[in-house]
């Protein structure tokens, strides 16, 4: 049997399950307790698990992410929530210089089994300081895993393996997905997913649209439009941004031979650039057309609705990019 729930509910259920199953797990972040989470992911948790395990923090990302690292080193399994990726830049030193390096620099003696969750992306008119996508920066760093759950299944299933991982795992939840609904198995045990592979969300043969996170629904919408025009598009959801699933990317290229990479980061030095580079390195002779990218325009994300929409990847831009690969 299945049941229907939203991305938000799925993520909440995953955290609740982790808190119930493992006494070492606790949640920490701005407004996660009394307010129930900026996006209501932890509503009711304070009453259920108490202030020891659901900890409101001051507005001090550098401090509380560092505290999370210390707790992980000390044997706990912290879930640290950072309100948006923009604010996480304040904690970048802790994540990049401490969390990502300690196991390596200690010869494997000090793993940091920390999970950091943060909201990313634009589309909700939150203006430039709350709308950027920096997951590509994190995917640059060896020593951490970077996840981008884009489906209800992944929102529900990715947290458990992330907590079980000996390395820090950063989970990027796109703000445009929180109200998306989908089907899940009734039994929580059937929700397990891996955090190593990319997944084909729609099979096709003429073009591979490689994407992740908030752009997945847009890519699927574009694929639907393309199907009406007789172009069969495969949609590959990367799911894991570090380490990238090179085999799945190469397989999609070999199958479809035309590729459009869709990513809400900017093009310059972005994750899409990395994916294109890998395609050229590993699958050059499979290509039957130049590789195209649909990314955010190279501007700070605007506040005005029509400008924000124009700045972001959209289904029509994806359709146009795909058609550009055919004569």
């Amino acid at each position: 049997m299945t049941r229907r729930l939203s991305y938000r509910e799925a993520m909440r259920e995953a955290m609740r399950e982790a808190l119930q199953n493992d006494p070492r797990v606790f949640l920490m972040g701005e407004d996660v307790g009394r307010y129930g989470g900026t996006y209501a992911f932890s509503k009711g948790f304070l009453d259920e698990f108490g202030p020891e395990r659901i900890r409101d923090t001051p507005l001090s990302e550098l401090g509380f992410v560092g505290a999370g690292i210390g707790a992980a080193l000390g044997g706990l399994r912290p879930i640290v929530e950072v309100m948006t990726v923009n604010f996480s830049l304040l904690a970048l030193d802790q994540i990049v210089n401490s969390a990502a390096l300690l196991r390596h620099m200690s010869g494997g003696q000090f793993p940091v089994p920390l999970v950091i969750r943060m909201c990313t992306g634009a589309g909700r008119q939150l203006a430039a300081q709350h709308s950027h996508s920096f997951e590509g920066w994190y995917a640059h760093i060896p020593g951490i895993k970077v996840l981008a759950p884009a489906t209800i299944e992944d929102a529900r299933g990715m947290l458990a393996p992330a907590l079980a991982d000996p390395d820090p795992v950063v989970i990027f939840e796109h703000c445009g997905l929180f109200n998306v609904e989908g089907e899940l198995p009734d039994n929580g045990d059937d929700c397990a997913v891996d955090i190593a592979s990319a997944k084909v969300r729609r099979a096709g043969k003429d073009v591979a649209i490689i994407t992740y996170g908030g752009c997945l629904p847009k890519a699927l919408a574009a694929a639907e439009t393309l199907a009406q025009d007789g172009i069969s598009a495969e949609v590959l959801d990367l799911r894991v941004l570090r380490p990238l699933d090179d085999a799945a990317i190469a397989a999609a290229v070999a199958k479809c031979r035309r590729v459009v990479v869709v990513d809400e980061n900017w093009k310059s030095g972005g994750l899409a650039a990395e994916i294109v580079a890998r395609i050229v390195e590993h699958a050059f002779f499979e290509l039957d057309a130049p590789v195209a990218r649909v990314c955010a325009e190279e501007v700070p994300i605007p506040y005005a609705k029509h400008l924000e929409e124009a700045a972001l990847p959209q289904p029509d831009k994806i359709v146009a990019a795909v058609k550009g690969l055919f004569a």
């Binding site: 050059f284 002779f285 290509l287 690969l325 004569a327």
Partner: protein, 385 residues
Amino acid sequence: MIEFKLPSLGADMDEGTLLEWKVKPGDAVKKGQVIAVVDTAKAAVDVECWQEGRVHELVAAIGEKMPVGALMATLLAAGETAPRRLGAGEAAPAGPAAPPLRRLISPAARKHAQELGVELERIAGTGPHGAVTLEDVEKAAAVPAEPPAAPVPPPAAPAADKAAEMRKAIAAAMSRSKREIPHYYVAEDIPLARALAWLSAENARRPMADRLLPAALLLKAVARALQRYPELNGYWRDGGFVPGERINLGVAVSLRQGGLIAPALLDAAAKPLTQLMQELADLVQRTRTGSLKSSELNEATITVTNLGDQGSHGVFGVIYPPQVALVGFGRVAERPWVDADGGLKALPVVTASLAADHRVSDGHRGALFLRELAELLQHPEELNR
């Protein structure tokens, strides 16, 4: 670097096919020089370049069909040197890449062609920018090899196709005109006794080759009248009127195979009758043989249609967008005419009409323009200046 782009050769042209290059890389190009021949729906046109320089690269290929505005060639201005090729590690300029010159073959197609032993040279590409794709290779592999055909110039469109294309072009321009331009019409009968008498006397003392036709006189009078009514001479562009810098009379020339073209007599007001007559004869002849210049096709600021001896009494034309007026002349014929003293006479008379764009001018001004035209034609000797 000067970019030479395919100019628009009239409101009814949105693409052209390159037939011939008249220059090659390294050639010096003078302002106004014809550098290419482009086939449009209506005619093969000699395309002029209005910038001076040295040809750097011919981007468009013979036989290539291009939209108006497509990059055809690049020229180096005086003193400019060819840009250095980008070396490894250097950033390429941003923006969409120009269609490349060499033959494109996708990596997958090249690999597969090698596996199948298919010769890539005999495969036509259907991919982006005409690249040979995997599918092209597979299709070619399914067909037995034939000796490669010698490259042939693009075949001229058959006459029937050409006529159909011209009809389509006229249909598009005229539909647009009637859809967008609120026409108004005024007409005036103009006695030509004085003008024709002057013309006879003038022609009697000229050598045969220099003789003038009434059309030259009519055109000159239109050009002069337009000097006083500039709102009839120019274009409607982007929601407003843009006056023509000069008076370039588009002369409607009907073609023997059907259809018509209205190339321009440039700067008609400034030219003496003899020169105007020569240019008119030359223009009509070149229109009918299909060797017009691009400036003649896209610089007319108003159109004049002259039905001539075979025509009817009067004509009310359809404006050629983006122009804002059209002057029509019917057949010159003897008609009863009441002169200033109340006497009835038989005189040569022509009916002149004006179709004009009401967004730019009003009927009152249009009527005054025709009166001015009538007045000018009563003093033909003054038109010869």
